[in-house]
């Protein structure tokens, strides 16, 4: 929170603010000093907030028409598509909105990885973010089950069966999750309840995520600590508001393209067949945003170890602030890390690709190599790199390279004269 005191101008405003300091909060949010060199990769926080609100609003609307019952769910979704006024639009926004949400969150996460935003003092922001990401995956999975099509049903069966890998209690847990001996009506009704609950948990965590962000302030493309407010910052409003707004408009064009022109391209045609507990679809894959983890799961030839590997692939991110031993945040000044970063990006894309392919032959081999590299990156390369890498000298302020003409050591020695300006 910014330290300066704020007093509302009007008497009523002061009276209200003394009792509930909402105006102080609003003032903090508008004046919030932001690094002036934030690039467009920093606009995805705002875009993600938009995605969350879109999912909640369209989800509330869908819940007015959807019926959570094994016999009626599939029909009620078709009813939404055909009968409800603009139901097709609202459902397509919600379904594609999930994909857009994940697209934005992956960019947001990889932004953090490139610019070292997870490092001290922002570890809590990062860990809250990972929890939000986990909840997003849970919400996406639960929501995918609700239309009660073939992919819904068999997706639910496969994912819940992951818990059966747990020794001794696994089968009991799966029966408990199902509320029966297979995925059926009790499973559907509880999935609906949880799918409704999770977005509000995410909303609460987003508030904490932003709160934690506003303590140290934003990281920035050169990854240095800056003085706030100073020549290196601009107020959040109007500068970042306009920039975020423009990026959001660009994002909405992509979003609208999917909704209006190819609303089903990211889904599976099999989900327009009603759930049938007697027949499994020939080729069953999760939604695109879960494919890398699905590839990791399948690459391990042991049931329990596969599940552990998949969960570890996500949870290892929470330990990232301590696995990355380099004190330099931004990859701009880490020539070796920058290369390993892009290899990791390629590795995750490859995992996503082989996750969509049958788990056999060359695909399986590639999946295994890519899985091994994924863990190698976090467990070996990052810790070692922090000690071995020769980094490029970091400027002392955002304005310094411009004012001093270069980022070389000579200007660094000149730092006192620059900082005191």
């Amino acid at each position: 929170m910014s330290e300066h005191e704020y007093t509302p101008k009007s008497k009523v405003g002061k009276w209200f603010n003394d009792r509930l300091p909402l105006l102080t909060l609003a003032n903090h949010l508008t004046d919030y000093p932001t690094p002036k060199n934030l690039n467009y990769w920093w606009t995805f926080g705002g875009i993600l907030t938009f995605c969350l609100i879109t999912q909640i609003v369209t989800g509330l609307v869908l819940a007015m028409h959807y019926i959570a019952h094994a016999d009626l769910a599939f029909g009620s979704v078709e009813h939404i598509m055909r009968d409800v006024n603009y139901g097709w639009l609202i459902r397509y926004i919600h379904a594609n909105g999930a994909s857009m949400f994940f697209l934005a969150v992956y960019i947001h996460i990889f932004r953090s990885l490139f610019y070292g935003s997870y490092k001290s003092p922002r570890e809590i922001i990062w860990i809250i973010g990972i929890i939000i990401y986990l909840l997003m995956m849970a919400a996406a999975f639960l929501g995918y089950v609700l239309p009660w099509g073939q992919m819904s049903f068999w997706g639910a069966t496969v994912i819940t069966n992951l818990f059966s890998a747990i020794p001794l209690v696994g089968e009991g847990i799966v029966t408990w999750l199902w509320g029966g001996y297979s995925v059926d009506n009790p499973t559907l009704t509880r999935f609906f309840t949880l799918h409704y609950l999770i977005p509000f948990l995410i909303l609460g965590l987003v508030v904490l995520h932003i709160w934690a962000l506003h303590v140290p302030g934003n990281n920035n493309p050169i990854g240095i600590d800056i003085q706030k407010p100073s020549k290196d910052t601009v107020p959040f409003h109007p500068y970042i508001v306009i920039k975020d707004g423009f990026a959001l408009l660009m994002f909405m064009i992509v979003f609208a393209f999917f909704v209006f022109y190819t609303p089903n391209i990211l889904g599976h045609a099999d989900n327009y067949i009603e759930a049938n507990p007697l027949v499994t679809p020939a080729h069953i894959v999760p939604e695109w945003y879960l494919l890398p983890f699905y590839a990791i799961l399948r690459s391990v030839p042991d049931k329990l170890l596969g599940v552990i590997a998949m969960l570890s692939a996500i949870l290892i991110l929470a330990a990232l602030p301590w696995l990355d031993t380099s004190k330099i945040r931004s990859a701009v000044f880490r020539p070796l890390y920058k290369q390993f970063y892009w290899i990791l990006v390629a590795d995750v894309l490859i995992l996503g690709y082989v996750g969509a392919m049958p788990a056999e032959g060359l695909y399986l081999l590639i999946a295994r190599v890519a899985t091994a590299y994924y863990f190698l990156h976090f467990l070996v390369i990052l810790p070692v790199l922090g000690f071995k890498e020769r980094t490029i000298p970091v400027p002392l302020s955002i304005t310094e390279p411009i004012l001093a003409g270069s980022t070389n050591l000579a200007t660094a020695k000149n730092k006192d004269s620059i900082i005191n300006q």
Partner: protein, 169 residues
């Protein structure tokens, strides 16, 4: 503020707000309209009723758009009584001829115009209908005579398809 000339920037702001308002409206409207009656509800907007088994002096109640519709086959005395009432004695003056195209058949929405309860048949001070919720008395033409209801019970759009069938809606 002496200079009143519109600046380029003012125009851009106004244009942006205008486009933004249209976009916002176009986005919000589907979220509002989805709560209006949908296609499956509208498809049920008319009901056909077989009235061949209704004897004089009896009322049947049918469901139309989720609301009760009273179909009463009135006796000659009831018709005479309904026609004899002077309009100046009515809170909501309507002639019986205007309410029952075929005087033998009164087709009327069985919903009290006060707060929406269903009145009871052949009850009340005027031998028509009586609403148990707040004590509104209706006559044999369904007109309000006493009590808090502001207007007569509503006559829905209906027609005789043939001698034995009424189509409501």
């Amino acid at each position: 503020m002496s200079e009143k000339k519109t600046k380029r920037r003012d125009f851009l702001f106004t244009a942006t707000y205008a486009v933004g308002a249209v976009g916002l409206g176009a986005t919000v409207w589907p979220m509002i309209d989805q709560m209006n009656p949908d296609a499956s509800v509208k498809a049920l907007a008319s009901t056909e009723v077989d009235i061949s088994s209704v004897n004089p002096g009896n009322t049947i109640t049918v469901l139309w758009r989720g609301k009760p519709v009273f179909i009463r086959r009135r006796t000659l005395e009831e018709i005479a009584e309904a026609k004899s009432v002077k309009l100046e004695n009515l809170k909501h003056p309507e002639k019986d001829e205007d309410r029952a195209k075929n005087p033998e058949w009164l087709v009327m929405l069985g919903v009290c115009t006060h707060l929406g309860c269903v009145p009871l048949d052949q009850k009340g001070d005027y031998n028509g209908w009586f609403c148990p919720c707040h004590g509104s008395h209706y006559d044999i033409s369904g007109r309000i005579r006493k009590g808090p209801a502001p207007t007569n019970m509503e006559i829905p759009k209906y027609e005789f398809v043939d001698a034995n069938t009424i189509k409501i809606g």
